[in-house]
Amino acid sequence: MAISAPLPLVASPGVARPPTRAVVWAISLAGCAAGVASFVFALTNDAIGSELGEPLVIATLWNWMTLTYVLGGLLAWWRRPASRFGPLMIVTGFVCFLVTLAWTSSDVPFTIGQALDKLPAVLFLYVFLAFPSGRLTGRIERALVAAAFVTAIALEFARMVLGDYGAHNLLGLAPHLAVSETVRHVQLLVLSAFLLGGVGVLAVRRRRAGPALRRSVDVLIDAFALGLVMLAFLYVSLVVGGPAVTEIRWATFVTLGLAPLAFLIGLLHARLARSSVGDLFVELRSNPAPADLRDALARSLRDPSLTLAYWLPEFESWADLTGSRVELPDRQAGRVTTLLDRDGSRMAALVHDPALEDEPELLAAVGAAAGIALENGRLQAEQQAHLEELKGSRARVIEAGQRERQRLERNLHDGAQQRLIALSLELSVLEKELGEHPDAEKRLDAAQREITASLEELRAVARGLHPAVLTGHGLAVALEQVAARASVPVRLTVEVGGRLPEQVEVAAYYVVTESVANIAKHARATAATVDVHRTNEALVVEIVDDGLGGADSERGSGLRGLADRVEALGGRLRVWTPGGRGTRVRAEIPCE
């Protein structure tokens, strides 16, 4: 799933706004009223003292839980309106309050409170599993919470119907205390099993999650999952009658009441992350170089694995900064994509760790901060893509030309040349058959000379079109011939280790032939060296002469054509030609 975040914006996209002030006040007051009320319930009822411990202590601890959840939830809702986590916490807090209705001596409130008695345990489980989005994402999580709900509510009803909880229980229609006791045991044990299962799910989820360093606060939150373990332990103790149940109960309430603080620290942490967005703003204002953008974003989002892709509408594809096409990963690959828009049109995509999905605001804020720099990056990517396209088409044009020349060369050889030789043979035979005939002999000789000249011309043309020997036998063999034919002594070294891509060989061949021809025409050199060797990624061709130097690049129309040929393959051609000190031509042609 991709979150589309229109820019510029700071709030999360297309989700609820924070609660209004009136709602905040109403909930705060309701929470405080609930707290006061439950104190009153606790202190006016003698019965709970014996069952749960000191009424004042138990009321204080319970209200501690109620209020931290309500107020913490409120804060979470306000700060993270996109997340359902805040409301979930508030509900949990109020349910905790409703449970205290069971502390009253009136039948109806007691019955309601008692019916909800085990619900807070399930909600705690829910809260822990749903942090920080407020939603249960996995199937196991949902099944676990649903089953816990059923256990907490249905079995509680069953116990009440079976006459548990004494006189104030209005539901005790079919009293059967022995069965009720069994149901109680089952309920408590099953609930504790679910709680522990929840802790297990949390542990597994954490281990699978992205870079831990990004969310050190998760560790803190997980620590408070201890509250769930304690609750499970409490339930088991209630069944098997372990020691110090009261103290365990108190400690459990304290721990569970502290958990909202951990959740709030988690939120504050996100706020801290927001301040790194401020740094990003500053950084980008000073130097919005597209090349450094990814690193800056990765720092702000604390996700070293972050990658950036730019949308190129003309090419209808995603590309990186060099203009090369990239595919956005799908969710299965463990990566999440967040699309960043600007003025309603698609611009870039952040490919990041799934953990960042918990902080859509942060993503949106970072996206907004990087807006201009992203636009620059996109332009650069687009430019590069155009450049690549151009380079590709230039290479294709040259290649097509090369193919055509090769075809022509073959035609000349297999057609005209063979015919001329055959014709010449025919003349020789004719000459013999003619016997003594001086005049005819003379004319036949002239015809033969004409054929010789034609053959030579033909050969020169054909060789200029395409060096056939190159195709068949590679650079070393072809260059040997060039060096041998040169007008000045040429020292040739070719170290290329086998065949190279044809385009590369042809380009290198022409660099050498053209340079050697230039030396003959202009340089007045006495010697030249030709060195062809491979480096890791390129073929290097270097031709040096000891002639006049001072060659301008227009000399021998060939140099510009050579540069085209070399550049089309992504290489470059350079000429050093200091006056009076010879000329050096160096071509580097990339080859894998």
């Binding site: 073959r410 297999d414 055959a422 043979l425 035979v429 013999k432 020997v469 036998h473 011939q481 002594p489």
Partner: protein, 214 residues
């Protein structure tokens, strides 16, 4: 003397057959590709096979490869390779091991019928025929303290003919000098180039080529 020909141009092949037959050689097989040639060589054991270096299907070096294979499998059959250009590297490949019964000529040489027929006969007899251009190309190469520079012009002329496979008698005929004089020059050349004297004329071709190539 029996000849097999592999040449895919009909005109040229027929021309070749004609001049060979008129010169009293027997053409026992003609074909247009390397595979057929190998078959014909196996079946007829000719004295020499004349092979176009470029043959179908790719027209790259099928002919050269066929020549090398014949050399390997039928050492008694001479091979004379015809090429559009002088391709030094290919010629040296063909001569890598020995120059006995090997020829490498430019196609144009066919036109000088007498010289061509002489070359065919030489190769068929186990001698060599190297295109003069190859030899002069090799000779024109730069070498440090070139011993070739120490040769007299006459000796240089004789070296070229020797390297292209001519026998002492052939050289004598060409230069219109006595065979004895040729022999004297040859031993002088071998001395100056510091090459060991060798009996066989084919072997000395290789020795000279190796020397020039180094």
């Amino acid at each position: 003397m029996r000849v097999a020909i592999a040449e895919d141009s009909v005109l040229l092949r027929e021309g070749l057959v004609r001049i060979l037959e008129e010169s009293g050689l027997e053409v026992v097989g003609q074909c247009t590709n390397a595979d057929d040639l190998l078959l014909k060589v196996r079946s007829y054991s000719p004295d020499v096979a004349i092979i176009d270096i470029r043959l179908p299907p790719t027209h790259n070096d099928e002919g050269l490869r066929a020549a090398l294979e014949i050399r390997a499998q039928h050492p008694s059959v001479g091979v004379l390779v015809l090429s559009q250009y002088v391709e030094l590297g290919l010629a040296l490949k063909l001569l890598a091991e020995s120059a006995e019964g090997v020829g490498y000529l430019l196609k144009d040489r066919i036109r000088n019928v007498d010289d061509f027929i002489a070359a065919v006969r030489r190769v068929a007899d186990g001698g060599s025929a190297l295109d003069p251009i190859i030899v002069s190309t090799l000779l024109s190469r730069e070498r440090p303290d070139d011993p070739v520079a120490k040769l007299t012009p006459r000796e240089r002329e004789i070296l070229e003919l020797m390297a292209s496979g001519e026998s002492n008698q052939g050289i004598a005929d060409k230069l219109v000098i006595t065979r004895r004089a040729v022999e004297k020059h040859v031993s002088s050349i071998f001395g100056k180039l510091d090459l060991p004297a060798t009996g066989s004329e084919s072997r000395r071709v290789l020795a000279v080529l190796l020397f020039l190539r180094a």
